[in-house]
């Protein structure tokens, strides 16, 4: 059996459509069977409410007198992109304020507008024959704008990788606060209610499909940027009129140490046209799996510690290596439900009818990393291979002599097998001279906890280590802790023309 979209819309207009949420659907399918559910249910509503950095809006402000061709534009000190004609801008949610940094960003401007607060527009121009004016400053409310059209390049990911951190310091990321030593796990996404998780093959979601966007009647533009539905990470480009939006479903946020972002409420109604839709909307949290990725490794390809389902994540703790680790959601499941319920109301009362995609999305597409014409430099390219080192059982006096001879401030210390076991600096030696009772050998005064690097580590990451620990040199070692060289702040300075010198 099949059901046409026209029949479904007719039922919606007559007020007879049976609309259920994606959370209710699995039980209905279980109870009535697939054929039964297809006959019974006309529309399944989905919803999600979470941080979607890749959001923003196009504005048209209208012309001033005398007219100005706005070349650079700030809204409450957050710069918007102005390279689109004279009095237009695109404001991205993730851009930070010039004056308040990441505490206030594009997302906050968008929320202020929707909340009915005034926003200061500041623009400058070089002045032309047709647009003579050079500056303008004015206060605007949302209703003063000709157009405020939200257009989000990538929203509503099918699922998100969960995050943890095995390093020994707290990380502040777009996945929230990640405590050291895998102290917690954070995740995002609505699982069973997530729009794309209910249509992973993009059979009824595509261009032109009506959606709920932050309280407005919006639309799917098409595939989102960086969408990779072929690997289970599809997403959508969405649009909607900001003048219809509500603060209940649009919230600015700041992730400490990362930046501003926008919490967006998105819901998509799925027409139950065939068994395929019944099957895909019967998905439960237990059926949606996602990897837990280690953000303690600062590289693109971060290791996966475990694969879990949304049911596991929502339960509150996950076991990794025999330890129960607590989970935190970053998106709001309560709000996701509100979105799906609101959408249900719209359809039950005939305020929204459905349509099939006018253009479908390729569900097999995957994305790849950037093509880098020059590989990011590695430590081995700039490290100093002529290193003066010292054995741990030498006398401190010998260490002092070596430091002088090597014209350096750092002396790596090796054990009998030639492995790095410590480091001695000129400061340690001075201390030993003042306090001679510490012992006569290098091992008595060396620092044992050495911050080090490897030859294949990218220079940017080694530079971060120097900065974070406030040190000026890193021993370079191989897998077995054998010393290969030293990387100093001076080596970095040479490479980057002073960029790293502090």
């Amino acid at each position: 059996m099949k059901k046409s979209i026209d029949l479904i819309n007719e039922r919606i207009r007559d007020g007879n459509a049976r609309v259920v949420s994606a959370e209710e659907m699995p039980d209905i399918v279980q109870e009535l069977g697939e054929e039964g559910a297809l006959m019974e249910v006309d529309v399944v509503t989905t919803g999600t409410f979470g941080a979607m950095c890749s959001s923003g809006a196009f504005f048209n402000f209208g012309h001033a007198d005398p007219p100005i061709r706005m070349e650079r534009i700030w809204l409450n000190d957050v710069e918007a992109y102005a390279g689109i004609a004279a009095v237009d801008a695109y404001l991205g949610a993730a851009s930070d304020s010039d004056t308040q940094g990441m505490e206030y960003g594009g997302a906050h401007v968008l929320e202020d507008l929707v909340a009915g607060n005034p926003v200061e527009l500041r623009a400058i121009s070089r002045g032309t024959d047709c647009y003579p004016r050079k500056t303008i400053t004015t206060e605007l409310y949302l209703e003063d704008l000709n157009h405020a059209i939200m257009c989000n390049p990538r929203n509503a990911f099918q699922r998100y990788a969960a995050a943890t951190n095995t390093s020994d310091r707290t990380l502040h990321t777009y996945m929230g606060t990640l405590l050291p030593h895998a102290g917690n796990i954070s995740f995002s996404g609505a699982g069973t209610l997530s729009p794309l998780a209910n249509d992973p093959h993009m059979r009824v979601i595509g261009s032109g499909v009506p959606i709920f966007l932050c309280g407005a009647r919006g639309m799917v533009v098409g595939e989102g940027t960086q969408a990779s539905p072929g690997s289970g990470f599809g997403n959508l480009m969405t649009t909607g009129d900001m003048k219809e939006m509500s603060q209940d479903f649009l919230r600015a946020a700041t992730f400490t140490g990362y930046g501003a972002t926008l919490y967006v409420g998105v819901g998509i109604p799925l027409p139950v046209v065939d068994i395929g839709v019944v099957r895909s909307t019967a998905v439960r949290d237990e059926d949606i799996s996602t990897p837990i990725v280690d953000y303690g490794i600062p590289r693109r390809d971060r290791p996966t510690l475990r694969t879990v389902t949304y049911a596991d994540l929502k339960r509150g703790t996950i076991e990794i290596d025999g330890e129960e680790i607590r989970t935190s959601s970053l998106s709001s499941y309560r709000k996701a439900r509100e979105v799906a319920e609101e959408l249900k109301k719209w359809i039950e009362t005939g305020q929204m009818v459905l349509s099939m995609p006018t253009r479908t999305i390729d569900a097999g597409r995957t994305v790849h990393p950037i093509r880098e014409t020059a590989l990011a430099p590695r430590v081995k390219e700039i490290m100093d291979k002529n290193v003066v080192s010292i054995a741990e059982d030498e006398e401190i006096r010998t260490a002092a002599r070596n430091l002088l001879r090597g014209e350096t401030n750092h002396l790596p210390v090796l054990n009998g097998e030639g492995k790095l076991v410590g480091i001695v600096t000129t400061y340690d030696i001075s201390k030993a001279v003042v306090r001679p009772d510490s012992g006569p050998r290098v091992r008595d005064i060396m620092t044992r906890k050495v911050i080090k690097t490897t030859p294949d580590e990218p220079v940017d990451i080694a530079a971060q280590k120097l900065e974070r620990h406030n040190i000026s040199a890193l021993p370079v070692v191989d897998d077995t802790d054998r010393l290969l060289g030293m990387l100093t702040a001076i080596d970095l300075g040479k490479l980057f023309g002073g960029r790293w010198r502090r």
Binding site: G176, L179, T327, S328, S329, S332, R334
Partner: protein, 128 residues
């Protein structure tokens, strides 16, 4: 019950906590302490029924005592019930009810401040 005790050490070094323990015989659990040469701030946990007695004794010793009922404060208008605070709190102060509304057990809070930094919506604050 949690009490935040602050005292100045300018007028001599009165051992406020030791004195109170001796005087009242109440066992005091010190959860956090910042004490330097001229001032101190100590967070203590005492049994509900002896709280009043402890407060009185400490105040007599010249300390300022605040009863912490709402140590961590949530702004309901800003909170969206995401749950980012849940796993960062060392005291299990936050949990969801079955409708995914965030519940707070503020009496367990030790004012570490981790949740304040973790909340993306600036909805949490703690007593200064």
């Amino acid at each position: 019950m949690k009490l935040l005790v602050t005292f100045s050490r300018k007028g001599g070094h009165e051992p406020v906590i030791a004195r109170t323990v001796k005087e009242t015989g109440v066992l005091i659990n010190v959860e956090r302490a910042h004490i330097d040469s001229h001032a101190g701030e100590v967070l203590i946990d005492v049994p509900e029924e002896s709280a009043e007695q402890v407060c009185r004794s400490m105040r007599e010793a010249g300390a300022n005592v605040k009863v912490l009922e709402d140590a961590v404060i949530r702004d309901q208008n800003e909170c969206i019930d995401c749950g980012a605070c849940v796993s960062v709190c060392p005291q299990d102060v936050f949990a969801f009810d079955e409708d995914w509304h965030l519940q707070l057990h503020g009496e367990r809070c030790v004012l570490c401040g981790k949740c304040v930094v973790a909340c993306p919506h600036n909805a949490l604050s703690i007593l200064e």
